[in-house]
């Protein structure tokens, strides 16, 4: 066990899986010599050579297609898409192909691949480079969608994703790469589809994933100081999602806030709300609140970008509105 960054944890997972299984290979733009736009693949070309760490032309569709075809022939490709914004160029491969082949070919092929990609805003990268498009993947049966929030989960879930027989979309986040935390050494697997209770509490449930999970935790810690005892749930994966853990929490707390980084309308948070109202209807003391990104293309200017993204402040304020009596505490 050592303190590592989220980036290092990912790198460790890739390295360990490549050592363990020769079928694992990496595909992507500038992942070799350049070591990845965000340096997640640092050192892997040096260790594994260009047979297994394959730099590809700027052609996202054929990067995804190559991963799918290789997976159909029994390899375990891990493709890096430089950011999720560029994955939009490979949506046909992801949705019409990766997600469909096992089913439409009557179980005769599997597609065991991972597409890793960071999303998220906050770096003034403007409208075409700052999106969080989780719902695009979470909506699609046949895909698994994983979105770790901590270095330990980054490692454990990436290793589990690489070993999964299904296509996994592995959502990273620019704002998390430098975050630090304890990461178990060696063989450490986190099962896909199980939420984590990052902080137990009784007054209120706050649900997040990826970047919004630590944000929720920060808010909960501040709320504790104000006498509000929030339970924080980190979904960890959106497909499958662990609705039972969420519902059980809300049945206990009777109130919930869902926090997501992307645009509010038709985002994954809506599904969380829909599940809560379905599974815990009779327990709810107030409408589930959503905190999300502003519904605008990401602006470049810091003054605008700052207010366009959700923050721990927003969560604290919403919680205090929901639990006014405790506010005075």
């Amino acid at each position: 066990m050592a303190i590592k960054t989220y980036r290092e944890a990912l790198n460790e997972a890739l390295r360990e899986e490549m050592r363990r299984d020769d079928r694992v290979l990496l595909l992507g733009e500038d992942i070799g010599v350049f070591e990845g736009a965000y340096k997640v693949t640092a050192g892997l070309l040096a260790e594994f050579g260009d047979r297994r760490v394959k730099d590809m032309p700027i052609a996202e569709a054929v990067i995804a297609g190559t991963a799918i075809g290789a997976a159909m022939l029994g390899l375990r490709p891990v493709a890096e898409m430089m950011t999720v914004n560029f994955l939009l160029l490979a949506m046909d491969m992801v949705v019409n192909h990766a997600a469909k082949l096992h089913y439409m070919f009557g179980g005769q092929t599997t597609v065991p691949l991972v597409i890793r990609t960071p999303g998220g805003g906050g770096h003034q990268l403007a409208a075409q480079h700052s999106q969080t498009l989780d719902v695009y993947f979470a909506h699609v049966p046949g895909l698994k969608v994983v979105a770790p929030a901590t270095p330990a989960d980054a490692k454990g879930l990436l290793k589990a994703s690489i070993r999964d027989e299904n296509p996994v979309i592995f959502l990273e986040n620019l704002a998390l790469y430098n975050t630090r935390g304890e990461v178990p050494d060696g063989e450490y697997l986190v099962p896909i589809g199980k939420a984590a209770i990052s902080r137990p509490g009784n007054d209120l449930t706050i649900v997040g994933w990826s970047r919004t999970a630590p944000m929720a935790l920060e808010a909960a810690n501040r709320l504790a100081a104000a006498g509000i005892d929030a339970e924080v749930i980190d979904l960890r994966s959106l497909r499958p999602a662990d609705w039972e853990t969420v519902a059980a929490s809300v049945r206990k707390t009777t109130r919930a806030i869902v926090v997501e980084e992307g645009w509010l309308s038709f985002g994954p948070g809506a599904e969380v709300v829909a599940r809560i109202q379905d599974l815990a209807f009779d327990y709810l003391d107030a409408p589930v609140q959503r905190i999300a990104g502003a519904e605008v293309p990401a602006p470049y200017a810091k003054s605008l970008e700052r207010v366009s993204l959700p923050s721990a402040d927003d969560i604290v304020r919403a919680a205090q509105r929901m639990l006014p009596r405790r506010r005075a505490a």
Partner: protein, 382 residues
């Protein structure tokens, strides 16, 4: 380094070794008649053009007695496709088959000539027009027909239907309904082959209309860059739905498009089974032995509409007639008979055999059970 245009490699040799090929009858769909002289015309049409690397020595088949059995077998494959597709059309009309259904009628020489060049352990990626490909690959007619009927006994258990035949055992890696998609997947298959250092080949089959979508050049570039053992087989049947080739492609000679990747391209008469077989044999050898991907464009024609739903009113009847006059099944039979390699009784027996297979397939399909609704979400996840 050297460009296509710089190096006239083994073109001369090659032409000498090769029997003259009949260019498709003039005026045929989409290929504008050349104004150049005959030699230039040949080259402009790309017939036998070997590309910079040259495609190596010609294939082995000819209308000679030692090939009698194999030639009859190949003719039989074409007949089977034709009879099968006719039955499909009928069953579609009788609402036994649903969805989109695309037939290989008219394209049999291309289908049989190309697929017969492969080893059983090679891989094939096809598109939605895949019944013929599946038949030649040895998938049982009954399993395909049952699939079209949407039955549990179908080759993919009724989940995919006409456009999505797949057979892992025969390395028939699927029919796909998205134009261009399979080219990208073929790159992945080629990558896996090179990764494992195997001597296998991937054949990827698509139409001429599919060469304008991004996937085409993205895939060719990667295949060349990584030296993937892929044969890109373009079935130029002159139309993409209602669009003649020159309406979609700035360069209607598809064999020339790989020049952007220094990849060999060759055009062949897709109505001539042996010519297709020869050209594809060269391409397969290039891929297998030299890891050199290449493109073969087979000029052919679909006798029916794009799919069963299309009456194909956009084509002049004279044009259709020109191609009908070159029916690959009729032509090949004549050639066999003229060379004394097939007697009428033999032909009849082959015809009867095909008919029986197709009858049996339809009966099997009809009698088979539909998938159980309770199995709806089987195979969503592995």
């Amino acid at each position: 380094m050297a460009a296509n245009q710089e190096k006239p490699p083994r073109r001369a040799n090659h032409a000498a070794r090769q029997p003259a090929k009949t260019p498709p009858a003039g005026g045929g769909g989409g290929v504008p008649p050349s104004r150049a002289g005959p030699a230039q015309e040949r080259r402009a049409r790309g017939l036998g053009h070997p590309g910079p690397g040259g495609f190596g020595p010609p294939g082995r088949l000819a209308f000679t007695p030692e090939h009698r059995e194999e030639l009859q077998r190949l003719w039989g494959e074409m007949v089977l496709i034709r009879r099968f597709e006719e039955r499909v059309a009928e069953m579609y009309t009788r609402a036994r088959i649903g969805g989109y259904t695309h037939l290989n009628i008219g394209e049999e020489a291309t289908v049989v000539g190309a697929l017969t060049t492969l080893r059983p352990d090679d891989y094939i990626f096809s598109n939605y027009r895949d019944h013929g490909h599946a038949l030649v690959r040895g998938i049982a007619p009954r399993a395909i027909m049952a699939e079209l009927f949407g039955k549990e006994t179908g080759v993919v258990h009724g989940r995919g239907g006409s456009m999505h035949i797949f057979d892992r055992e025969r390395r028939f890696m699927g029919g796909y309904a998205i134009v261009g998609g399979p080219l990208a997947l073929a790159c992945g298959a080629g990558t896996a082959i090179r990764y494992r250092d195997e001597d296998l080949v991937v054949m990827c089959i698509f139409g001429e209309g599919s060469t304008n979508i991004g996937y085409f050049h993205e895939s060719l570039n990667l295949a060349k860059l990584w030296r993937l053992p892929i044969v890109f087989l373009c079935v130029n049947n002159q139309y993409a739905m209602g669009a003649p080739v020159q309406a979609d492609s700035s360069v209607p000679e598809i064999w020339r498009k790989p020049c952007a990747h220094d990849m060999p391209g060759e055009r062949v008469d897709g109505m001539d089974l042996l010519a297709v077989c020869e050209a594809v044999t060269r391409a397969v050898r290039l891929a297998r032995e030299q890891h050199e991907p290449s493109l073969v464009e087979a000029l052919t024609y679909r006798y029916r509409g794009h799919s069963m739903a299309d009456p194909a009113r956009y084509r002049p009847q004279e044009e259709v007639n020109v191609w009908l006059a070159r029916d690959p099944i009729v032509t090949f039979r004549q050639q066999l008979e003229q060379a004394g390699l097939m007697r009428p009784e033999e032909a009849d027996a082959i015809e009867r055999n095909a008919q029986a297979l197709v009858d049996e397939a339809a009966q099997f399909a009809e009698a088979s059970p539909a998938p159980e609704p309770t199995d709806l979400d089987r195979w969503v996840y592995a």
